[in-house]
C-alpha cells in the first residue's frame, strides 16, 4: 500500500505549495471490463490507478504563473517531487492571462474518507448473460462492457476541499451475420451495469439483423434522414467541444460573427430546441463544481471550486451561450458558462420514440449510429464521418429494409436549421465519443437534406 493516502497527499501538497498556493487533485480510478469477439471472451481485466495532479500558482512579475505536474505517489517524497516540478514549471511560465482569484468552494466533511470500491457483481451479471448470447450460433457477437468508479479529491489553497465519486458504465453489443454482410449494434451508457438487460440488447440486434435481410441499394446525395439519439449526440458533443467563447470572440470559430463578436443571439433552428449541460439531470448526473488543472479555451484552473449549474448553449432554437472560463467570459463580454460532463437536447414539441419519428418521416433513411467523426472545416464546423451498423430504408412510414453505409459531410450547426421533426429525449450512448463522454440524453431528429456525400462499402 501507499504510505500516504490521497486526501493526505492533497493536504501535504497544498502545504508545500505555500502562500501562492494552487489546485491539487487526487484521483482513484477503479475499472473492470469484459471484451468479446467472434462469440468468445477475448480480453478482460481489472485495474486500479491512483494519481496526484498539481497546478502550482507562483507570483511572478506582472501576475501569477501556473505549472502542472502529475504522477503516482507512494510516499511524502513523491508528493514533494511533484510540487517541486509544478513550481519549477510555473516559475518559467510568465503571468497566466486567465489568472483570477480562487474562490473558496465547498468543504466536504467526508473529504478524508477512502475511495469507494467497485462492486464486481455488476459485471459478473453481464458475463453470465453473455453465455446465453454466445449460444446463438446463427450470429457472431462482439462487444464490450465496462464499469468504472472514480473517487476524486480536490483541494485548493483558498480552502476548497471537495470529494466526489462518479460511476460510469457502458455496454455495447454488436451482432453480425455469419457471412458478415449484415451488422447491427445496440449500446447503453449510464452509471451502473445493473440496469443492463443483456437479453433485451440481444433481441434488439437480432431484430435489426432480420430487417437487414432485405437490402436496398441507395445512391449518395442529400437525403431526408432520421438520426438516432446516439447519432445526434455524437454530432452535438463535437459542437459542444467547439463552442468556446474565447475562440468565437477572436474570430476563429464557427460561432464567430465575421463582422465582429460572436453569433450569440442568432436563431439556429425554427424548432424549439434546447441544448444544455446540467450536472443535476437525473440519470446522467455529474459533478457540479469546476475542477480544472490547466487552461484551455473552455476552462481555467483558477475557476476550480466554482459551482456549475445548468448552462444552455441553445435555448428554443437560439444560440444563447458559449462555453467559457470566467476570464474568457469577461474577454468575450458573455456570461460565464462552465460546461460539464453531460449533454441534453430537448425539443419542446418533440414527441414519440425513434420508431415513431421514422414512421412520421414517410420516406427517408433511419441511421443507427455514426463513426469516425472528424472536423473538415472549422469555419462552418463541417464534420465528416460514416454511418455504421445499420441504415434502414423507410417508405410509406414503414421500415422496408436496410441499405449501404455512407460517408456524411455535415455541419451540426447548419443541420439544426433543417430539423423537421423530433422525438422525446431519451438516454443514449454516443457511439463515437463514449471513451470520453458517455452521459447523454438526446432527442432523435429528422433532418431534411442530410448530406450523405459518398457511398461506403463497409459493413
Amino acid at each position: 500500500m501507499s504510505e500516504i493516502s490521497l486526501p493526505d497527499a492533497v493536504e501535504v501538497a497544498l502545504e508545500l505549495l505555500g502562500k501562492d498556493g494552487g489546485v491539487v487533485i487526487g484521483g482513484n480510478s477503479a475499472t473492470n471490463n469484459l471484451r468479446w469477439a467472434n462469440s468468445t471472451l477475448t480480453t478482460n481485466g481489472d485495474s486500479i490507478d491512483q494519481t496526484l495532479s498539481i497546478s502550482a500558482f507562483v507570483s511572478v512579475t506582472g501576475g501569477v504563473a501556473t505549472g502542472m505536474s502529475s504522477g503516482q505517489i507512494r510516499s511524502r517524497a513523491d508528493v514533494e517531487a511533484l510540487v517541486n516540478a509544478s513550481k519549477a514549471s510555473a516559475l518559467s511560465a510568465g503571468p497566466a492571462p486567465d489568472a483570477m482569484e480562487l474562490v473558496r468552494g465547498p468543504i466536504d466533511k467526508n473529504f478524508s474518507e477512502p475511495a469507494l470500491d467497485l462492486d464486481v457483481s455488476e459485471i459478473s451479471h453481464i458475463s453470465a448473460g453473455l453465455s446465453e448470447v454466445f449460444s446463438n450460433r446463427a450470429q457472431e457477437f462482439f462487444g464490450y462492457a465496462e464499469q468504472s468508479l472514480d473517487t476524486t479529491y480536490v483541494g485548493t489553497s483558498s480552502g476548497t476541499r471537495m470529494r466526489y465519486s462518479e460511476r460510469t458504465s457502458r455496454f455495447e453489443l454488436c451482432a453480425k451475420s455469419s457471412d458478415r454482410r449484415r451488422s447491427a449494434w445496440s449500446g447503453q451508457g449510464g452509471t451502473s451495469l445493473k440496469d443492463v438487460d443483456v437479453q433485451k440488447h440481444l433481441l434488439d440486434v437480432s431484430q435489426k439483423l432480420d430487417i437487414q435481410l432485405h437490402q436496398v441499394d441507395t445512391a449518395p446525395g442529400r437525403h431526408r434522414v432520421t438520426l438516432s439519439p446516439s447519432a445526434v449526440s455524437d454530432l452535438l458533443i463535437y459542437m459542444l467541444w467547439s463552442s468556446a467563447a474565447r475562440d468565437a470572440a477572436e474570430g476563429r470559430s464557427a460561432f464567430s460573427n465575421v463582422k465582429g463578436g460572436t453569433r450569440v443571439g442568432e436563431k439556429l433552428s425554427d424548432r424549439k430546441l434546447t441544448l444544455a449541460t446540467d450536472p443535476r439531470i437525473k440519470g446522467i448526473e455529474t459533478f457540479d463544481h469546476v475542477v480544472n488543472l490547466g487552461s484551455s479555451a473552455l476552462g481555467s484552473a483558477f475557476d476550480t471550486g466554482l459551482e456549475i449549474g445548468r448552462s444552455e448553449i441553445i435555448s428554443d432554437g437560439v444560440l444563447t451561450g458559449l462555453g467559457s472560463s470566467r476570464h474568457a467570459a469577461l474577454e468575450a463580454k458573455l456570461p460565464f458558462t462552465p460546461l460539464t460532463d453531460n449533454i441534453s437536447l430537448v425539443d419542446s414539441s418533440g414527441d414519440g420514440t425513434l420508431a415513431d419519428l421514422a414512421s412520421r418521416m414517410g420516406e427517408g433513411l433511419l441511421v443507427t449510429c455514426l463513426w469516425y467523426i472528424r472536423e473538415v472545416d472549422p469555419q462552418n464546423l463541417l464534420l465528416t464521418g460514416l454511418t455504421r451498423d445499420g441504415v434502414y430504408v423507410v417508405s410509406g412510414g414503414e421500415i422496408i429494409g436496410s441499405t449501404n453505409n455512407f460517408r456524411f459531410n455535415e455541419s451540426p450547426i447548419d443541420m439544426l436549421s433543417r430539423v423537421i421533426d423530433a422525438g422525446e429525449t431519451v438516454p443514449c450512448l454516443p457511439r463515437e465519443w463514449a471513451d470520453w463522454f458517455s452521459r447523454a440524453q438526446v432527442a432523435p431528429l429528422t433532418i431534411e437534406g442530410f448530406n450523405l456525400s459518398t457511398k461506403s462499402d463497409a459493413v
Partner: protein, 508 residues
Amino acid sequence: MARVKEPRKTLEMIQIPNTPAPELLASAALETATKNGATVAQFRLAKHDMRGVSLRDGDVENIGSESNVALSVRVVHSGAWGFAATTELTLQGAVDTAVRAIAVAKISAQVAADEVILADEPVHGKKSWTLPIEIDAFGKSDSEIIEFLQNWNRKISTSSIVSHIESNIGMGRDETFYADLVGNEIFQQRDRISAALTAIHVSDSGFEDMRTCAPPAGRGWEYLTGTGWDWETEIERIPEYLDEKVKSPSVKPGAWDLVIDPTNLWLTIHESIGHATELDRALGYEANYAGTSFATIDKLGNFKYGSPIMNVTGDRNSAHGLSTVGYDDEGVASQQWDLIKDGILVGYQTDRSIASKIGMDRSNGCAFADSALHSPIQRMPNVSLQPGSEDLTTKDLISNVESGIYIVGDKSWSIDMQRFNFQFTGQRFHEIKNGEIVGQLKDVAYQSKTPDFWASMRQLGGKNTYLLGGALNCGKGQPGQVAPVSHGCPSATFTKVNVLNTRDESAK
C-alpha cells in the same frame, strides 16, 4: 509487505525510488503465477514520462509534466488470458496482481471458446535496448523550452497576415522491463519528440490557418534544432503560405491527378494500409470498436491491393521510428517484413496468439500496451511505402502532371470501419498546370476507396523524397489505448482521384 532494497543489476534502467528492483517484482509475480497453474506468465513494469509546453499568442497556456508507473501480470490459465495491473510497486503488490490475473483467467476460461496458443519465439535472455538520441530533451529546462518556442513565434508574429499563433512542444519517454517464465529479462528505453506551430488569419470574410508539417519523431532535442527537419525555413515561410491560401480560389470538384507529398501521404498509408493489415482486425477482434478490414485472410497472397509499383513493409526497427523497439511486449525481437509486394497483399501485423491462429511459425512482434495498466494487444508497427527504383524528385513528379494538385501536410482524416471509403484534407493544395505549380487552391478534400486509390498510383518519387511521417495518437482497443507510430513514404502521383469542395459539401 516491507520494502525490500536489493543491489541493482547492471541491466537496470528504470529509476523508481523506494521500490524493489524490477527483477524482484517480476520474480514474485512469476513465481506466484507458476504456483497457481499458469502455463504462460508475462510481467511488465512500465514507466512513462511526458512533458509539454503550449503557447497561445506567445503566452504560456499550459506547461507541465506527467509520470506514470505501474506493473502488470498477464497469464494463460486453463487456456484463457487473464490480466491484472496495479500502481502498488511492492512485492506484495506483484504477488496480489498475479493472483488477480489468475482469477480473471479462470473466469474467462468458463466463457472463452478458443484456447490461447502462442507462436514460438526464441528465448532472448537478459537484454537491454535503447533508442539512440543525440540530445536529451528531458534535460532541457522549462525556461529553455519556452524561450525556444517564443523565438519561433517571434519569427512570424510581425507579419500582417498572422492574427494568432499557437505553438507547442511535447516529449515522451518509455522505460519498460519485461520478464516471463522462459527466462527473458528485457529492459528498454525509447524517446519521442513533437512540435508544431499554427498561424491563423482572421478577417471579415472568415479565417484560415496554416500549420507546420513536421512529424513527431523518435529523436531527442536535436530534432528541433535542424537534425531531420528544417524548422527555420518552414516557420519563416508560414506567413507566405498562409497569405497565398487566404487569397487562393476555391477548388473545382471532380477527378484530379494528385501528387501527394510524404507529409500528407503518411496518414493515408496509416489509415488505408496500416489499419487494414492488422491481423486482429481481419479476424474480427476489433469489430465492435475500431472495426474490421476488407483485407481478410482469404485474400492473403492473391489480392490486388494497388498498382504493381506498390511495395509496403512493416517494421519495428526503422531509425527514429515511433513504433521502433528492440523487443515487443511479448518478448518478440523486432523485425521487418513485407505487407504488400508488387501490389499484392502478402502479410499482416501480428502478436503471438493471433499469429498462431493463421499458422505463422513466428509473430512479427506487434504486441504493445500503452501502459502497464493495459493488456498488450496487436498494434501497428512502422508501415512504410517503399520509394521508386528511379530516384525521381517531387519536381519530376509534378512535371509529369498536366493538370492536378500537389498536396502538402495533413489535416482532417476519416475512414470507414472496413478501411474502404476515406476522405482527407491537407495544409496546402498547390495547383499544377502543364507540369508547373501555379498557386494554391483551397477547400480541397480527396476521397476514394482504398483499392481504387492505390491502383491509381502511377509514379513514385525516389529515395530523395522519402520521409518518415507519423502520429502519437493512434487509438485502438477497448479499453482505449494510444500508440505512437511512423510511416515512411516518398512523394507519389495518383490518377483521377475524386476531389470534393468542402464549401460545397456544407449546406451553406
